[in-house]
Amino acid sequence: MRAFATNKMQTKRTIFRNRWLPYLLLAPQLAVTLVFFLWPAGQAVWQSFLREDAFGLKTTFVGLANYTRLFDSPEYLNALRVTLVFSVSTAALALLSALLLALALDRTIRTTRLYTTLLVWPYAVAPAVAGVLWWFMFNPTIGILPYLLEGLGYDWNHALNKGDAMALVIIAASWKQISYNFLFFVAGLQSIPASLREAAAIDGAGPVKRFFTITLPLLSPTTFFLLVVTVVYTMFDTFPVIDATTGGGPAQGTTILVYKVYDDGFIGLNLGSSAAQSVILMGIVIVLTVIQFRYVERRVTY
């Protein structure tokens, strides 16, 4: 997918000369794209300039009022802050543990495949199910983790304590993403020529020094790529995790931006505000995608 940016419009030397066939081939994809992607996106943009009255009877054009209101609203600012904390923590946890596991795997020889199998399958677990599993483990009444924490003198309750709730969604979201990052780190490590590390070893660099001077710099393209992917994941794919564990609570302590769009749009029925939030999210995705694709070109010259 990323390689596309470098050679945009390549075709074959010879081509079929059929005039209508290519349109027919593209028709299903374009129809779905138009009806379910572009049209709704356009609607969201349009809606974001409108406001409905309380009974849904009258709609007025309000320009950027929905946007200005958002940035005046403490709830939205709270959602931004929550998203930031959640994204950064989840990305850090998911990347660091995956890197640690990949480094450990890189030292093994015969057991590599077994460990890989045992570590990759959470990728297949639905985020919603991951949420339910951790919600069960952290259940204040019967969960095993609160029980252990109690032994340490900590009274866990994510239904009341915002910090606990945040920790819960971070752990559940990271757990699900570790396998993905792990696979890419393993691939990244394998692509580092053994000769480089051997040369460093001959030069007298110990394992820790080797990691920081050889492995980590050479792994930086992979790391950067995974960072972007994980941030996208935390911002857009973790809705189920939150919905299944905390429902955005307590007191909006885990309401990330995507959750708020849903909440305002479907529960609160505040369409104008929800649309404005959607548009802001689109902006964020576009920025992240551009970063991802610009990084491709850098990777090529690396």
């Binding site: 450990a104 069960f136 749009g265």
Partner: protein, 282 residues
Amino acid sequence: MVENQRWLDVLAHLTLILGVAVVALPVYLAFVASTHDPSAFVSGLIPLLPGDAMGETYAAVLEGGVKSQMSVPILLMLKNSLIVALLIAFGKIVISILSAYAIVYFRFPFRQLAFWMIFITLMLPVEVRIVPTFKVVADLGLLNSYAGLSVPLIASATATFLFRQVFLTIPDELMEAARIDGAGPFRFFRDVLLPLSRTNIAALFVILFIYGWNQYLWPILVTTDEGFTTIVAGIKRMADVVDSEPLWNYIMATAVLAMMPPVLVVIAMQRLFVKGLVETEK
């Protein structure tokens, strides 16, 4: 290995074993919970070893009914999930491979525009256009239908680009030879391109099946009729009990059933899965 440092090897194995344990623990506990009857959960701590009520629990949730507080049997949800996941996976593959074919092997007006339209879908995940997309689906009368559950999700820039990459690596001469051999666009696609993309299709299928199976937000929105609930979406409805304690054994049995199919697919096709995952990001 660069040098033999036993303590590093030991540390590596310890790290991995710890990792495997952390990764497996939630699933193990869920499984254990699903093998006990409800009385096991009143003691204040979840059981740590499997019980003997496994058969009853799973039978109860699969059939549904009063006992499990489920109006819809899990068996039906599993069926729905399977149908939706297959529709999404096949749908994405079919429309993407056709689009990629058009873009790579034909030159036509508006080709660039078509390409960018597909590319833009990357930037519009369903989560950011939930409300208007829901409206479109509602207006088309697709709520509570398999089409409504799958069709809005089957546009795929990622899959299109993957097939495009695959096609670009197929030598030009193969198409030229086929044309000289009297194969038109249809025959070339069916006789040469499809067979040569087989492993890529399979790898992509694994990824997309998981993607489709694990959908959550979209099914919740477009199904009000419980007969169309997928298992991943349904598990939430089950856990949402207001007044009483959740029926842990049933919920966990459902969770186990919900993750079983995609997890098995990943384990059974690990090689294909890794290939698919890494290649879609190329």
